[in-house]
């Protein structure tokens, strides 16, 4: 059983389109995250949710909107896609407790290519 699964694995779309990436975890974790890994492999946190509540919102354009329907799911919707949004997006989860001291369990990533 996959612990953290995200779909799709690859996403190719044109500038201006709106797209969503879905993430689900079956580990029973309370905290979920979205990270962006750019072409230079630099990994940066975007959002964090704890039990469906937003607790971290880094400096991310408001074209990016996370949604957590329940604590096992955290989806990422991106409006008006731009070339600079091309990256690998990772979903992750961590166990109950402070989100800063828990090891992360990552999904396999979604490679988004905007043309």
């Amino acid at each position: 059983d996959t612990a953290v699964s995200q779909t799709p694995k690859y996403l190719v779309t044109q500038m201006g389109n709106d797209k969503s990436i879905k993430c689900e975890q079956n580990l029973g974790h309370d905290t979920m995250y979205w990270y962006k890994q750019d072409s230079k492999k630099f990994l940066k946190i975007m959002f964090s949710y704890n039990n469906k509540e937003l607790i971290i919102n880094e400096t991310v354009p408001n074209r990016f909107s996370p949604k957590s329907p329940d604590k096992a799911h955290l989806n990422l919707h991106i409006n008006s896609l731009e070339l600079g949004d091309s990256a690998v997006y990772f979903c992750a989860s961590s166990p109950v407790g402070s989100s800063y001291n828990s090891p992360l369990h990552f999904g396999n990533g979604t490679r988004l290519t905007v043309t």
Partner: protein
């Protein structure tokens, strides 16, 4: 704000030998956790080892160990008896918030 620095963009090691990857960080907190993650070509991010700042003893996981120097804010990863499967990008992380730029490790047969 916390920062994490990995000063070695690339490292290489001969199979069966030992290699050390460097990481320094900056924080004003006294209690925190540090992690090393591995990202092989498959793209999957995998936890390698973690260190709790209030523990003086360095963490070890089989062939992986850390040298944690809290005063110097240094957190290096030592890989002993390197194997071909260790070839990957290695990321140092401060909690869940900050990652270093990564070190690409090549293992030569």
């Amino acid at each position: 704000a916390q920062t994490v620095t990995q000063s070695q963009p690339e490292m290489s090691v001969q199979e069966a030998e030992t290699v050390t990857l460097s990481c320094t960080y900056d924080t004003s907190e006294s209690d925190y956790y540090l992690f090393w993650y591995k990202q092989p070509p498959s793209r999957q991010m995998i936890l390698v080892i973690r260190q709790e700042a209030y523990k003086q003893q360095n963490a070890t996981e089989n062939r992986f160990s850390v040298n944690f120097q809290k005063a110097a804010k240094s957190f290096s990863l030592k890989i002993s008896d390197s194997q071909l499967g260790d070839a990957a990008m290695y990321f140092c992380a401060y909690g869940t918030l900050r990652f270093g730029a990564g070190t690409r490790l090549t293992v030569k047969p």
